[in-house]
Amino acid sequence: MDPSQPACDPGQLSSEMDEVIKEFLVECNEGLDRFDRDLVALEKDRTSRELLDSIFRAIHTIKGTGGVLGYEKLVSISHIGESVLSRMRDGLLLLSPAITTALLTMADALRSILQDIAAGGTEGTGDFSAVLRQLSTVLEQAQPPVAAKTPLSIAGPQPDSAAPPLLGEILVSSETCKPEDVVAAVELQQEGDPRRMGQILVDSRAADPSAVVEGLKMQSDYREIGSNTIRVDVALLDKVMNLVGELVLARNQVLQFTGTQKDSSFLSTAQRLNLITTELQEGVMKTRMQPIGNVWNKLPRVVRDLSVGCGKQIEIRMEGAETELDKTIIEAIKDPLTHIIRNAVDHGIEVPEVRAASGKSREGHLVLRAFHEGGQVNIEISDDGAGIATEKLKAKAIANGMVTADHAARMSERELLNLAFAPGLSTVEQVSNISGRGVGMDVVKTNIEKIGGMVDLQSAVGKGTLLKIKIPLTLAIIPALIVTSGGERFAIPQVSLIELVRSEGQEAGHGIENIHGASVYRLRGNLLPLIYLNRELRLGSESASGSINIVVLQSGDRQFGLVVDEINDTEEIVVKPLSKQLKSVSCFAGATIMGDGHVALILDVLGLAQMTRVVSELHEQNVAKQGLKSAESAAQREAWLLFRIGKDGRMAIPLSLVSRLEEFPATQVERFAGHEVIQYREQIMPLVRLAEALGYAGASDSELLQVIVYSSNGRSVGLVVDEILDIADQSAAVQQIRHVETLKGAAVIQQRVTDLLDVPALLAAQQLAGGEGAQA
């Protein structure tokens, strides 16, 4: 025997264990989850027949199947629970918080027995007499059974219920049996007759045996219709997923090969391979997708338990539970989500008295929203509780020595709020047993960032808190930017990518400055800390190409620039984990195989930022420097686009208004109602010749039009200028020398007086959309 074989993993069933029991356990656990969810929902909507039926069914199944398999404890507990539920179905008992609690305790007891069965095959030695007593007490409250006035169980099959109809219902509706006989049989059962419905009916000669057999057959047919899904082992899915990953790589290799081939049948086969692979990839990805509701479903129970525990009334609402996510991501966010909810219930939402006193409804609200946006999943958790007092956070952070008082004073509201994610910080004065020990939110943040997600916190004191989470859809195959540094290729996950900056020729290196040995780049007036990939990874020689490529990346809520030798392309890559020998290298998230068969490493943006500590340290320097600067000049630095119109008209507009700079051949200009337009990105874009519009002489009659594209509300306008001069990054004190409608005034930019164009005013004057108050 191989000694390296691991001992039987607890929680995993040994291979000899019967398939039937495995299936039973899965079914029961799912049933109990549904039980929890529907029971909590029933508490809100106490008359819902549908919910009650669903709860009843869950317990009934456990009792029934458990009995067949000989699990006595399961049967005795679920039997009494079923009795309570059947009283409720008969309208003899109305759900109260005490009953809900008793039933939930019962569900927990059943779960613990199921766990014992899964681990050891037996029901274990747990003592559940307390649960049984609790349920018996509940049962005694119910009025003694009286003759059922409206036996709902034979009121005909419920159209929207997915469960198979009861035998009595089938027999009545097929007219092989009289309703009153079924009612009598149901009463007999309620009085404790252990016989099944069919047996009673046959024994009392109310139905003949062949009809009952027919009815049972119909019932089982009904069951089969509902099963158009199959259970698949996750390990198998993972394997298929891996194989598809390989296939994607092989496809990429084939596609690269097609470039050198001329054989048309080969090319078309390669093309088909390409399409089929893409479709297969999507299909397999879909099999791993699960609605986020699968995680959320457990939350109402959590909220209920917690709110009862701390005397709060909380309503939880969920929107977008059907939003789908990769299974691995679902697993990864399960714990962080639960933690966030605990926090919201414990600290966020106030007790009813406090809420009433501050003019809010006594019941607190917790809203979960999930939706897809830009290839990512957004999850928002909001409450209408007390919010987070940033003053308290600040004081605590200073007391803990996390920030200096000086630094804290300069922090923005948002930065202060995000201190809540720092380790060891909690604003709660009293530590409760639910949360508030100061571990948690930092773990939540790390866990979410680990899977490439982001967390953001917004809060208003007295109004509530909103926590936003953005996570990628899947982790297995991701779009990535391929860069080269020191002769090696690296992949950067596109989720962390903000933009690419390239400066060439003489301008290369312009704008990069050093602060205490750390490089920063001026990006539209903000300082961007820089990391040189060559230096950080000790790759040796830096490129001498004379141009500088900066990949602007987002790590958490900070941005930094990564200087690389070359930016190659974007590609879909298959993420492969690194072997455990490489665990110590934190700046790589994995590796992938490129189209040419070479292996490339995937950069872990978060790890890289932490390793170089560019994010935290430089940020402080950043803040310090900005503090100095703002004292120096109150005028805002801004990037200006400088251009010439006419012969010597020097003008500027803020770069933030410019969506693109384009060149169009003059021949492309067409006319619409006498005005010049051009086809641009499948839209008709009006052109404004600035020299003409503003009355400058000497407009050049060039073949090529220099156009500044200005976009507002989804509509673009092209401003035709004579020359783009420069981009200047400086503060400009605007002075009104003489009032001109289309100018904001003038300023000294690059030591020269420059007119500042007021684009909206100009467009309004030209009666074009995008202007102030102008009609489209």
């Binding site: 090696e488 990874l537 000790r538 690194l578 072997s579 490489l582 110590s584």
Partner: protein, 147 residues
């Protein structure tokens, strides 16, 4: 009855090493490698083994032998493992030999301490000594420092 076992052999610095045949997944010629910046020194890089990414350990560095001279390309002895294969870079591949357990002896004391860590023992073959490599140790990075 004589106990025999099969060893896959290879050379490192003219020394003959052996690994149990059943641990070896395959033996392949030199593969292009992607080096891993900041990784432990004994890790030579990553290779693409038919779509699978395999970490390669440079046995010369692991055993503190002098580095391979410039033009020589190492061969890969791919060792099977539960959590994915690992490749050991060696100078040259030898034959698969069947050895007699009676010829086995623990590593001699004359072997330096570092070498003894990785060698489980020696088979006294007629022509040459065959060193039995401790593969688990050879694939570990414990105690090594980043390059």
């Amino acid at each position: 009855m004589k106990q025999r076992r099969q060893l896959c052999t290879f050379y490192l610095q003219k020394l003959l090493f052996g690994v149990e045949v059943e641990k070896v997944q395959e033996v392949i010629r030199y593969q292009e490698m992607t080096r891993i910046p900041l990784s432990p020194e004994v890790i030579a890089g990553l290779i693409n083994l038919r779509g699978q990414i395999v970490t390669a350990v440079d046995l010369r560095r692991q055993l503190e032998l002098p580095a391979r001279s410039g033009g020589e390309l190492p061969m890969n002895v791919v060792i099977r493992r539960d959590d994915g294969p690992i490749s050991l870079l060696v100078d040259e591949i030898g034959d698969v030999v069947e050895v007699d357990e009676q010829l086995f002896e623990p590593a001699p004391d004359t072997l330096d301490a570092h070498g003894r860590e990785f060698i489980r023992g020696v088979y006294k073959l007629k022509q040459q000594l065959l060193l039995l490599l401790d593969t688990e140790k050879a694939m570990s990075v414990v105690g090594t420092h980043p390059a």
